[in-house]
């Protein structure tokens, strides 16, 4: 299942970066594309704004076929305080921009990618393609909520993958 999670994350990060390369975040001094997986980062009580934060929440495994079908719920949270130059009065527009980026990234064809194994991947070592594809349904956008000057929204998307023989 970790391979499917990693594959989906890398795919989404890449698509979002293509749509808006300026959306970045500095994590421990390194500038990275503005898409993170919360469980892969140091725990923090703070909320990073103007980036997409993925959390893997629901999980279902269907064992009726020869390959178990795993359905994972990915919760994508994003928030914005608006820009300081506008006094935060553009936070609605900035949230709408993030809505559009996420919708475009998840809505673009194909809605599937080959599953990759990143276990051995590193500098100069590419990820290893596996035998099945990771695919996903359309995202569901929750209501925007206002917390003081901050606008937040959570979108959920069901991500599917088959557990291949020997894969954990």
């Amino acid at each position: 299942m970790q391979n499917a999670k990693d594959t989906f994350y890398v795919t989404l990060q890449s698509r979002l970066a293509t749509l808006n390369a300026a959306r970045t975040i500095v994590v421990r001094g390194v500038v990275r594309p503005g898409t993170l997986v919360d469980e892969n980062e140091l725990p923090s009580a703070g909320v990073s704004v103007d980036v997409f934060r993925l959390q893997w929440t629901g999980l279902q495994v269907n064992n009726t076929e020869l390959l178990p079908l795993v359905a994972m719920e990915c919760s994508i949270q994003y928030a914005t305080d608006g820009s300081s130059g506008c006094g935060g009065m553009d936070r609605g527009r900035l949230l709408a921009a993030m809505d559009a980026e996420l919708a475009a990234a998840l809505g673009a064809e194909p809605h599937m990618v080959p599953k990759m194994n990143y276990a051995a991947a590193g500098a100069g070592v590419a990820a290893t393609p596996m035998g099945t594809n990771v695919f996903w349904a359309d995202p569901v956008f929750g209501a925007a909520t206002a917390v003081d000057e901050r606008l937040e929204r959570t979108s959920t998307v069901q991500v599917f993958a088959y557990q291949e023989a020997g894969e954990l």
């Binding site: 076929e65 079908l69 035998g131 594809n133 695919f135």
Partner: protein, 322 residues
């Protein structure tokens, strides 16, 4: 790798014309073309986009042959073979309306001044000839009508391009048979009749030096000599009439693992009149979809001479068990 059931989001529909005069459908060979790019089907297949509510029904009846006492089933026989398809198109366009209409699908030609009202449009305004020998030759995407005539068009104009009706009988419509004329009297000898029913329509996106540039190529390709251009305001179909639309159909279900299910009906005839389905958005808003239902007519499979109604092909994903 073990095989799994195909998982697909939706079905994509493609249609191709049947040569009605010769009774020859457009056959789809999945062995040669099964992996085609879904967004660029091989000619003459036309991509009609995704459809919803795609339902295939098998009406084939298999009866038992009984013999002996007590009677026992000693064999089976197919007493009736039928296949039908129903779906809803997710877009409205000339071809989608044609397929969903069941009968002739007419173009609402711009009427002549003072024309008597008629349900499918009054007497049409005079058509505009395509120029030859002056300026560039017309192509499938550009129509040279000359500067004077071009002044009567504007960006966004809908146009129909086809030959004049001069008394021809039988199937009419260049490239695609769109109606059947039994007698010249039935169509009132109207020179615009073929343009009234033709599928050779386009949208003007630019006008340059007397040339109408179209958004996409005319289905019948480069206009033939003698064709004229009529403006239209929309499309009209009718419940009733005598004509049956017949098309070759191909429906593709792309699987999430790279597998693909293709269902090919060489001859589909409309089996219902024009109807719509509604999909609620948020009260009181509804999205109206064109509903189509088709009955498959038989063809002979050249490989074994069997008479069949449709072909279902499955292309497995790479390295899957079979």
């Amino acid at each position: 790798m073990a095989s799994v059931a195909p998982v697909t989001r939706r079905v994509r529909a493609y249609f191709a014309p049947v040569n009605r005069s010769a009774g020859v459908p457009t056959l789809f060979d999945a062995a040669q073309l099964g992996r085609f790019d879904l967004h660029a089907p091989p000619a003459p297949w036309v991509d009609l986009g995704w459809v919803s509510g795609f339902t295939r029904k098998c009406g084939t009846k298999v009866d038992a042959l009984l013999a002996g006492a007590p009677a026992m089933t000693v064999g089976q026989v197919r007493t009736e073979v039928e296949a039908t398809v129903s779906l809803a198109f997710e877009t409205w366009g000339k071809l989608q309306m044609t397929l969903a209409s069941g009968s002739q699908q007419t173009n609402l030609l711009t009427t002549a001044a003072g024309a008597t009202p008629n349900g499918s449009g009054g007497v049409a305004a005079a058509p505009v000839p395509l120029l030859t020998g002056t300026g560039p030759a017309s192509t499938a995407t550009s129509l040279n009508v000359g500067a004077a005539a071009a002044a009567g068009f504007s960006v966004g104009s809908l146009v129909a391009v086809d030959v004049d009706y001069t008394g021809q009988l039988g199937y009419v419509g260049t490239g695609i048979s769109s109606a059947y004329v039994q007698t010249a009297n039935a169509v009132g000898g109207d020179i615009n009749y073929v343009r009234r029913v033709t599928l050779n329509v386009g949208v003007v996106v630019a006008i340059t030096a007397g040339v109408l540039e179209l958004a996409s190529a005319l289905p019948a390709g480069v206009p033939a000599a003698g064709m004229q251009v009529s403006q239209l305001v929309g499309f009209c179909d009718r419940e009733g009439a005598s004509f049956f639309q017949e098309w070759s159909g191909l429906f593709v279900m792309p699987g999430a693992q790279g597998d693909r299910v293709l269902v090919h009906y060489p001859r589909l005839q409309a089996m219902q009149g024009s109807t719509e389905t509604e999909e609620a958005l948020a009260a009181p808003l509804e999205s109206i979809r064109l509903a189509g239902a088709f009955r498959s007519l038989p063809v002979k499979d050249a490989n074994d001479g069997e008479t069949v109604l449709c072909f279902r092909s499955y292309l497995p994903a790479v390295l899957r068990g079979v």
